[in-house]
Symmetry: C2
Subunit: 282 residues, 2 copies
């Protein structure tokens, strides 16, 4: 299957500015970059994404995937990003049928924490089948520790969200962006470029999606759509996220720091360690 | 000026679920509610908002305002929210001209951290005039402390963003929602319902916008559009947020916790205390 041709238009991820601290003194601080990138599909403008710019081609591919404008990476011939004109030019092999109707549908469902692609995504929930998976508590702790040790824009500049994809405790890709939706979309793009969707997975080393952000409905659905049966967050879960995770069989784990966590849904996908003996009340 | 008639359709903000902790034991935890609310303007569906549901009518009014679909609250006759059908029915007094074109424009600019209403908002930046304002460091500390003491869904359930509007150190309104854009939109709605936009302000007790989220371009622009000359966050700032704040003359303050903060832009709007004497090197 031919993969899309991609440019490699990354850009500086941070910028130094001078702020004034609480003593009225100047302080040099790093802040994350934030660029607007307008996406054209076959010369038709479809969206402007605000992004950190770490891997814009992967972001655009994942965006098209998660918006379900393309069904398979071989439908895309090339994605050419040019920061000089802040544009990503996507060329498809055979065009996108009904692109007008399919992008205008977003009007009612898109927004930031405001509907987003929720309507379209929810249509799919019934058909999602997640693979068998069982993660051990030791693997989970290893994932959390790997994230803790990861060098990141967050550590140097803050104000970004990170997502990562693991197979068992092995980190496959780590992505940061100014919006967590961009970060997960970039992971969706990465999975397509690396053929992981169709790869056989060992149920004892399942795919695990990690996010620093909350497990909202959209994050849970996107994770499930990518065939990833476990999602881990250092943050919590919202009611819709909980409901969707229950429904699709996704194991949602939150508040994961050091050796603590809460498994919100489908704990059968987690192999708990023998619980430490607790002093029983007399 | 007649204000819109509003229902009072609030709903429970949290829900108790049973999670499994790291010892494999069940734990009752509170999670924030998250509801989809489809907004109809004069019977035309325009968007589905995912919301905590604390003040849906204010959210819808502020959404229409920040999307610039209405220019003044008296253009809206009523907003009727009915959770049974998860709908907000907005009736305008005279209709919205070109609503079709104006909502379809969002296609290219809306998204979650993904363009959002950025394009449309940026058009306005040049015309924004913020009022004179000077906040003292003591007022800033008082604001941070008020937020710290505020009872909140965040404290009981986590996973929500809070915004608040202050006048000097007096908190006028505190709003939480699952998305920070919803929270600021609700504040925009509140300001319209309370006529604060047109109120005379004392430059020594200026309006201050507080957010738990990052100061992104969109948050800065929305704050400026509401005529609020200072924005405070416990989090940081992105490059676009920084650039827009510089440009519109907004004082952006981040990392505000206890008695620490960083003033990113326009420190002339902040009256620094006499700096404590520092031991000078010999």
């Amino acid at each position: 299957m031919p993969l899309p041709q991609l440019t490699q238009a990354s850009a500086p991820l941070t910028r130094e500015i001078t702020a004034t601290d609480e003593f009225g003194q100047p302080q040099a601080v790093q802040i994350p970059a934030e660029r607007d990138l307008t996406v054209y599909v076959d010369k038709r403008e479809i969206v402007t994404l605000m992004t950190l710019g770490a891997w814009p081609e992967g972001l655009v591919l994942g965006y098209l995937r998660n918006q379900r404008l393309v069904q398979s990476p071989d439908e895309v011939a090339s994605i050419m990003v040019d920061w000089d004109v802040q544009a990503a030019a996507v060329q498809t092999r055979a065009g996108i049928a009904d692109i007008e109707a399919r992008t205008s549908r977003r009007v009612v469902t898109t927004g930031c924490g405001q509907g987003s692609v929720f309507g379209a995504l929810m249509d799919d929930v019934g058909s999602i089948q997640l693979p068998p998976a069982r993660l051990t508590q030791a693997q989970l702790y290893s994932i959390v520790n790997t994230i803790r040790l990861q060098e990141s824009t967050y550590k140097s500049a803050g104000s970004v969200h990170a997502c990562a994809l693991f197979r068992g405790e092995e980190m496959l890709v780590f992505v940061e962006d100014v919006g967590r939706h961009n970060a997960i979309d970039t992971i969706a793009g990465w999975m397509w470029m690396h053929g992981t969707d169709t790869a056989q997975t060992d149920s004892n080393a399942p795919f695990v999606f990690y996010t620093t952000g909350r497990l909202t409905s959209e994050m849970v659905i996107k994770s499930a759509q990518m065939g990833v049966p476990l999602a881990v967050s250092r943050s919590g879960i919202t009611q819709m996220g909980h409901q969707v995770a229950e429904q699709v069989g996704l194991c949602a784990i939150g508040r994961a720091t050091h050796r603590r966590f809460l498994c919100y849904t489908h704990p059968e996908r987690l192999a708990f360690e023998q619980p430490p003996s607790r002093a029983a009340p007399l």
